[in-house]
Amino acid sequence: MKTTKKVYYSLGFLFVLFCTILSVSTLGVILIDIFSKGISVLSFDFIFDYPRKGMTEGGIFPAIVGTTFVTLITAIFSIPLGISTAIYLNEYAKNTWFTRIIRSSIRNLAGVPSIVYGLFGVALFVQAFRMGTSLLASGLTLGLLSLPYIITATEEALKTVPENIKEGALALGATKWETIFKIIVPASMSGIITGIILALSRATGETAPILFTGVFFYQRFLPTSLFDEFMALPYHLFILSTQHHNIEGVRPLAYGTALVLLILVFVLNLVAFIIRAKYRKQF
């Protein structure tokens, strides 16, 4: 009896340990493969040069610029909207059925597949609003996708501000919005920024929502207006690894692109991680 218990214990422990090692080593395999095969491609020219000879040579500069532009549009659209929605929910909304519907909508928006956002973007921005396939349409589509994450993270941050600080401001004669803008938002800024960075890093790596709303596979110039099509890093990786006429030949470039994308996403995550670690437990 005693020994069977011990055997079960050891087997069980080994099983959960194995599960953990497997999960974490997946990350290791991904990082090692992409870093080891992508690093040799990385160079000044790869980052700052245009693709040449049907994307078989040259760099990924327009894709980097395109991804940066589209993420900026995403940020401009989703940050103010996300923060104000969170402020409404946390500071104004009472616990009514309608508030519960809003919260439940937000949770469900986070679960809507990214390709469905892409379809919505085509129907609304590209077609109904007549933006055409453009930076603007893609940026807005990604903005909608990021919205639930920004709202949730901002709300979490706002919740950490203690009631007595808010009451202090109100007691001193500040109006509600003065309390929000001068006390609550500054006090929860680090949490809000962390959430925003994480949401934008997710948007940066998304491919499906921009697939038919504005991304273009090969451009020899940079977008000059909001209504231009653009190249993007994730889509460039997709093209190089599945749609190119010489897939084996451009594999090193695909690895290089994957590495740049991964570095970009990880740097954003790292910044968020550092901000969170640094400002944890303010109150």
């Binding site: 959960v16 599960c19 469905v116 919005w177």
Partner: protein
């Protein structure tokens, strides 16, 4: 006076943005339905749901049956969950019950990092890493099949399953655990007979949220499952799930054709499937919070 006016303007602004979330969710749904419904002017519902041949661009007789794609989506999702659920719940159990604080503080960010990897990168690894590996292991031609997609999707579901079921197990009152240990149960028995059953609703919610993510995932399955529009015959068949079909065809289809509208109809189905999964997960989580 002026300050109070600003105050009331902001109340209105905040309220509008609060309503916006609801408007967007319903807007997405109605936009999809509004576009998708036009497909049924020419396509019969019976054909749409019961036929397995999909060839919308055929010249003389276009066909719009979604059965093979639905079967592909279900197969890939089921396989992915078969891989991800035991590993994910196991890893969560390790983190909660066995890992020291120091070890957990290293492992948790690693799992968050796994969640941050873009899906196109995972799909790329399906082509260059998992595909050749499966081809060598099972002696098939290229390894781009349902199993490949399922492995990638399992990797993408893992962080969700691990972190949410970890929260669920962590929320089980310490007194339960202490009582069990005091009665002479060891930590494994306590885990299996006390902690996992008590946290089961949260664990189920974790699994469902992971599943929601898997069904809606596009890039990984698009790149790694081989894109073959046919009823899957097994885990080594090349398949083409719903999401992949939308991704492949939407870019080429002329606007406002039956084919275009039928892709929105696929979107409606996808939206409804994920909505049901998320609402159920939501209900389970709310109940579990009350407890």
């Amino acid at each position: 006076m002026n300050r109070n006016r600003v105050d009331s303007i902001f109340i209105i602004l905040f309220r509008i943005s609060g309503f916006l979330a609801v408007i967007i969710l319903f807007g997405i749904f109605f936009m999809l339905v509004f576009n998708g419904i036009w497909a049924f002017k020419e396509v019969s519902l019976t054909e749409f749901f019961t036929s397995s041949s999909w060839s919308p661009s055929a010249y003389d007789k276009p066909e719009y049956g979604i059965l093979s794609m639905v079967a592909s989506s279900i197969l890939v999702t089921f396989l992915a969950m078969l891989i991800a659920v035991p590993i994910g719940v196991g890893a969560a159990a390790y983190l909660v019950e066995f890992a020291s604080t120091k070890v957990a503080s290293i492992l948790k960010p690693a799992i968050e990092m796994l969640a941050a990897i873009p899906s196109v990168t995972i799909g790329f690894l399906g082509i260059v890493l998992v595909g050749p590996f499966l081809a060598k292991l099972f002696g098939s031609s290229n390894g781009l099949n349902a199993l490949n997609g399922a492995i990638l999707l399992a990797v993408m579901a893992l962080p969700t399953i691990i972190s949410i079921s970890e929260d669920a197990m962590y929320a089980v009152p310490k007194t339960y655990k202490e009582a069990s240990l005091a009665l002479g149960a060891n930590r494994w028995e306590t885990l299996v007979k006390v902690i996992i059953p008590s946290g089961s609703s949260g664990i189920i919610a974790a699994i469902m949220l992971g599943m929601g993510r898997v069904i809606g995932e596009t890039m990984a399955v698009l790149m790694a499952t081989g894109n073959a529009l046919a009823m899957p015959k097994g885990i080594f068949s090349s398949v083409q799930p719903l999401t992949a079909t939308i991704a492949i065809e939407m870019g080429e289809v002329p606007y406002n054709t039956i084919h275009y509208y039928s892709l929105f109809a696929l979107g409606v189905i996808l939206f409804l499937i994920t909505l049901v999964i998320n609402v159920l997960a939501d209900i389970i989580t709310q109940r579990f919070k009350v407890k």
